[in-house]
């Protein structure tokens, strides 16, 4: 139980609250935005996990790869929805 374990626990808690927005929506864009935020938090979680297990040279490569894949996934979904407006549910958002 070192300081990195506490930091990883905080990141996991923050990420768990983001899943509420993924479930609630109310449209596909809010879900995509929250999914991207979860991916960004996962980068920090992977880097901290490397320092927990004292093998950061391996986990940093995983974090770099995950950053690339997260960006490509968000861009691909955004471009698809931009070209297919019929698949967007335009739920009216209430403040």
């Amino acid at each position: 139980m070192n300081e990195f374990t506490i930091a990883a626990s905080v990141v996991v808690f923050i990420t768990a609250t983001l899943f509420w927005r993924i479930v609630l929506g109310p449209s596909v864009y809010n879900r995509l935005l929250a999914t991207g935020a979860v991916g960004t938090n996962a980068i920090a979680l992977l880097a901290i996990t490397g320092f927990i297990f004292e093998r950061p040279e391996m986990f940093v490569d995983l974090a770099l790869t995950y950053a690339l894949l997260n960006f490509i996934g968000t861009v691909a979904a955004a471009k698809y929805l931009e070209n297919h407006p019929d698949e967007v549910d335009r739920t009216v958002e209430t403040p």
Binding site: F51, R90, E93, T94
Partner: protein, 118 residues
């Protein structure tokens, strides 16, 4: 060196928490994009910067710096692409807080509300 890295990492965790609260509480998609794109980028840069300070000068620190540079470029670009797709497919911003809705002395309605069928 150790304490400085931990303090920087704690500040980064605070900013990640701020972005999570913003995504949970703010009204409308565009306000949430504004919360996530800036605060997440600063938070991830500070967390990885704290790890870099903790590790010192090494190959791991260089790769962490690469991640920081990439995220600082890619995260705003991804948020911008999502927002552009939302605008072009007809998502409208939430324009008024609910306190004004029941107020008889409220300012005249926003045209966006009429477009949304309110």
């Amino acid at each position: 060196m150790n304490i400085v890295g931990l303090i920087v990492m704690s500040v980064g965790l605070f900013f990640l928490g701020v972005s999570s609260v913003g995504l949970f509480r703010l009204p409308g998609f565009f306000a949430r994009v504004h919360a996530v794109s800036k605060s997440e980028t600063l938070g991830i840069a500070l967390v990885l910067g704290g790890l870099m300070i903790h590790d010192g000068v090494s190959l791991v620190s260089f790769k962490l710096a690469l991640i920081v540079v990439f995220v600082a470029i890619a995260n705003p670009v991804a948020a911008h692409l999502l927002t552009r797709a939302a605008v072009r497919t007809g998502i409208l911003p939430v324009s008024r807080p609910p306190a004004f809705a029941s107020d008889p002395n409220a300012p005249p309605a926003n045209p966006n509300d009429a477009a949304r069928g309110k």
